[in-house]
């Protein structure tokens, strides 16, 4: 075990993958010599050379198109998109190519070797284009796996599993927590399953569900609620697609209440998908309407970021509404 922040944990997972897979490649804008704008790939080029860890030209559609071809050829392709806000030039390569490679070819070809790492999320005074959480666009695309670590330990294990997985994964890294999340992380390799949500705190009155950086927010709200004698079950979904309906449904059958919180805007967000499914799975067990605590339906603002965000107080209020319903 060693104390690591999330960047170091990610770096460690990449280091191990490059050692284990002699053909694995790590690439993206500025990831080479410099080690990435957040320094997640720091030292990798030095260790594994320019042919396996390299800067790409500044073209996201090129990065993902190249990555699709590389992965199809049998290389563990680990591509970085510098900010999730800049993944959209690659949308076509991801949605029409990555996600459909296996299906359209009858499994003659696949890009299961592909992992797309990308920092996402707000709370860093990044405004419109350094704050977005675009998972819902991709959650609407069968064939992709969407993974969200909440802390350093989770990041290393989930990234290792994403690299091992034989399906393409978009690995969303909560950049707000890159340095803030510090914890004990094993130095050796370990895997965390991609299809399992994690109950990080048991409780009886209400289920709180989130993924990525938002887990910290619902934990904080749960602490406030516990002080009022409300017992919260806190769940980290971890994998947004395909998601672990069973764990969430079992929890809601027990508590009768569900609050889902996401950073992204309310309308059409993944919280809506979860609400619909849990509503039909647990209809007779529900004590109150499922609630979603989300960003507002606006672009991500700057000056009013604090007001915009789905913070712990908004989640706390939702808990009170739910138990008092």
């Amino acid at each position: 075990m060693a104390k690591m922040n999330m960047l170091q944990a990610i770096n460690s997972a990449l280091m191990i993958a490059l050692e284990e897979h002699p053909k694995a490649c790590v690439f993206g804008e500025d990831v080479g010599y410099f080690g990435g704008v957040f320094r997640a790939t720091s030292g990798l080029q030095e260790t594994f050379g320019k042919s396996r860890v390299f800067n790409t030209p500044l073209v996201e559609q090129g990065i993902l198109g190249f990555a699709n071809g590389l992965a199809a050829q049998g290389v563990k392709a680990i591509a970085e998109i510098q900010f999730a806000d800049y993944i959209f030039p690659a949308f076509d390569q991801i949605v029409n190519e990555t996600a459909k490679f296996r299906y359209r070819s009858g499994n003659e070809f696949n890009v299961g070797n592909l992992v797309i790492r990308t920092p996402y999320g707000g709370g860093i005074a990044g405004g419109l284009y350094h704050s977005q959480s675009p998972e819902a666009y991709f959650a609407h695309t069968p064939g992709l796996k969407l993974v969200f670590p909440r802390n350093a330990y989770q990041a290393k294990g989930l990234l290792a599993s994403s690299i091992e997985a034989n399906d393409p994964v978009i690995f969303f890294e909560p950049k707000r927590l890159y340095r803030a999340s510090v914890g004990e992380v094993p130095e050796e390799k370990y895997l965390i399953p991609l299809d399992k949500a994690e109950i990080i705190k048991g409780g009886n009155d209400v289920t709180l569900l989130a993924w990525g950086a938002q887990v910290e927010i619902i934990e904080k709200a749960a602490e406030m609620a516990e002080k009022q004698g409300i017992s919260c079950e806190v769940i980290d979904l971890r994998t947004v697609l395909p998601w672990d309906v069973e764990t969430v449904a079992n929890s809601v059958i027990k508590t009768g209440r569900l609050i889902i919180s996401q950073e992204a805007p309310l309308t059409g967000g993944f919280a809506s998908e979860i609400s619909a499914t849990i509503q039909s799975e647990c209809f007779l067990h529900l004590e109150s309407p499922i609630d979603r605590v989300c960003g507002l339906d606006t672009p991500y603002p700057l000056a009013q970021e604090k007001e915009y965000m789905a913070d712990h107080l908004k989640v706390y209020e939702a808990i009170l509404r739910s138990v008092q319903y």
Binding site: G35, V37, P57, Y86, T298, K314
Partner: protein
């Protein structure tokens, strides 16, 4: 299916009552028919024996054209001392314009220095300097008419200053306060002004390039002799939008000047890892447009090149590509530390090649600038900048309502509801949202 239709010819008795046995073949024969008609029309418009639209030269030699076949020279006019080279082009820059260009560059240097310091002090969240590229940006803007549109990337504050954007406006934007034209929604340096024909900056790289083509096409339809200039970095020129934009502009004959700022770096990525061809200029040729490479440290050269480009673009309704060569002397942004990817020696070497000093030398040689006056002006400007900063810093933040306006022209019902809920929430926890509630902030 009707075989005559399949060949793409219009059948002699083409009336709508034709018998089509089933829906599908009806559909397909309609399509073929339309294509057939189009084909015969196109035949009249185009050179009928050149469907591939190529130069029709032929050769019996089996050889590849060299990747270096185009070796594009850098157009320049004056040396580092501000002296015109022997045989240099005639400079058409008049004294008033020259002074305005110099004053703009001088102002931007001081503004950039002050704002980076403000970022270091934690007064603003972010900043980007134009250091080393002031001549390229200012002189190119100066060669335009005020009706011309500017689409910039983010490092072109000098073009906006040249257009007359007030010091106070720069400050309001950087402090995202209620007087910011962008209503405090974007990070610092994302300026925009409708009155000054300066399109609001968008962070996603390259997106402005095809937009500039479309905007210029609209100007062509207006017929008022206006055009658009579009700035972007050599890094952004790798984006798909660059290629889309140049091709659209060339095919549809849009009067747009693509101004590539090749400053050697895209954050940490050196140009040598960005592309393999001869810079960006050679790509213009590939898309069928006139192209030129110019010394971006040479105010006179940039001015003449853009002036000529503008004349040509407007007269012929054609796009032009200009590649300006300079060096990004500053860090990429306030978030960046270049010591992680380039040497101090390299930076010092390029620091000597200063665009502002070079032009200053020229002005002094022309007797257009008094050195002492220049020094005292700098002092005055520094004071003005600091005073404006202090003023903007305490202007109130945009109103909470601005969070939901401009998503659409009118605020829709669901957003109104979300705002009402937000207001009720803030009223409950005023100390947690001090900026919008007016309450004192929490300690934690």
């Amino acid at each position: 299916m009707n075989p005559t239709l399949r060949k793409g010819k219009v059948p002699p008795n083409n009336n709508n009552q034709a018998v089509y046995p089933d829906r599908e073949s009806f559909y397909w024969s309609k399509i073929t028919l339309v294509m057939g008609l189009r084909g015969s029309l196109m035949g009249k418009l185009n050179n009928i024996d050149n469907p591939n639209n190529i130069t029709k030269e032929e050769t019996l030699k089996l050889e590849f054209i060299s990747e270096n076949a185009l070796s594009i020279p850098v157009f320049k006019m004056m040396d580092a001392d501000g002296e015109l080279y022997d045989g240099a082009c005639h400079s058409s820059l008049d004294k008033d314009t020259a002074i305005k260009i110099y004053e703009t560059m001088r102002f931007i240097r001081i503004l950039d220095e002050r704002m980076l310091a403000a970022q270091r002090q934690g007064r603003i969240s972010f900043y980007m300097q134009c250091l080393g590229e002031e001549a390229a940006v200012t002189a190119s803007a100066a060669a335009l008419e005020s009706q011309d549109m500017i689409f910039a990337q983010y490092r072109e504050q000098a073009a906006l200053a040249y257009r007359g954007f007030e010091l106070e406006q720069f400050m309001h934007q950087n402090f995202s306060n209620s007087k910011d034209l962008g209503k405090g929604r974007q990070m610092p340096i994302h300026y925009g002004s409708n009155a000054l024909n300066y399109m609001t900056i968008s962070s996603p790289l390259g997106t402005q390039i095809p937009q500039a083509a479309g905007y210029a096409y609209g100007q062509k339809l207006d017929g008022n002799g206006g055009c658009t200039i579009c700035y972007f970095g050599e890094g952004a020129a790798s984006e798909g939008d660059f290629h889309a934009g140049l091709n659209m502009a060339a095919v549809h004959k849009a009067p747009v000047i693509f101004f590539a700022r090749n400053n050697g770096y895209a954050i940490s990525t050196p140009a040598s890892e960005q592309f393999k061809g001869d810079g960006i200029a050679c790509r213009g040729v590939g898309y069928g447009m006139k192209s030129i490479r110019v010394d971006g440290v040479d105010t006179l050269a940039v001015y003449e090149a853009v002036k000529l480009a503008r004349e040509y673009a407007v007269k012929n309704n054609e796009p032009i590509l200009i590649e300006s060569i300079a060096y990004r002397l500053a860090a990429h942004s306030s978030s960046d530390d270049p010591t992680g990817y380039r040497s101090k020696d390299e930076e010092e070497n390029f620091r000597l090649n200063c665009p502002v000093n070079r032009f200053r030398n020229y002005l002094i040689k022309q007797n257009w600038l008094d050195e002492q006056e220049d020094e005292s002006s700098k002092e005055t400007i520094r004071k003005e900048v600091l005073a404006a900063l202090k003023k903007a810093e305490v202007v109130e933040k945009p109103s909470l309502e601005d969070l939901i306006t401009d998503v659409y022209e009118e605020v829709p019902q669901h957003l109104r509801k979300q705002m009402d809920e937000l207001k009720a929430h803030i009223a409950k926890y005023p100390e947690h949202y001090p900026a919008s509630s007016g309450a004192k902030g929490e300690n934690h």
